[in-house]
Symmetry: C2
Subunit: 133 residues, 2 copies
Amino acid sequence: MFIELDLQSDTPIYAQLIDQLIGGIASGELKPGDPLPSVRSLAEDLGINLHTVNKSYNLLKQEGYLQVHRKKGVIVQPDGMPGITDDFLEKLRHQMRSLAAAAAIRGMSEEEFAQESRAVYRTAIKNRGGEQQ
Amino acid sequence: MFIELDLQSDTPIYAQLIDQLIGGIASGELKPGDPLPSVRSLAEDLGINLHTVNKSYNLLKQEGYLQVHRKKGVIVQPDGMPGITDDFLEKLRHQMRSLAAAAAIRGMSEEEFAQESRAVYRTAIKNRGGEQQ
């Protein structure tokens, strides 16, 4: 999987890495049980700090998207992805609120905002094939 | 307007402040031409650094949400809010992509995601009254 980081961005690197990995799982590029590079090798490949990769992996593990095995290393969660928890919904709504507010100020209607969200959803899962809902 | 910052959050303070001010404009709590506190007084009220408030104000000014006058001080853009630019759409889609990916992984359907986006949009503009689209 190709990981692209923007070192000029205001979004911290660990958060960008999380976004890319979640994006890879959603699109089907990363499948349950797939191995991920070790912390050390991913840090070297991306030219970023070990601790940054470690932080991303740990947060993804905490949320249930990854498993970390002593032997197998880091793998994509093979035992079912996390569901729609209250925590997740709260975070989703909070982050979406900022986007909706800016869109509304700029004159985007509720309908257009919903259409954008549908289009983006379809793009996010575009390679998942039969798996998608 | 009441501004609430989460000092424990991973979102930088300047970005939280931007979100809150954009939220206030979207909801109608802040109206075109309304004065905002000076950098110094807002920094003191919130217990944050002058430079942080300055960064938020400058970014909001650059995007066209605020005007900074030598005499009037900082005011909410009175001459029409910025529109839906390509830059804005790109940023919106990029940020929405991460949310959609996580939602899809967790089993939220496209329809549910669109419904969430509509509900959030309505909440964001909920006090705008006749102004809303």
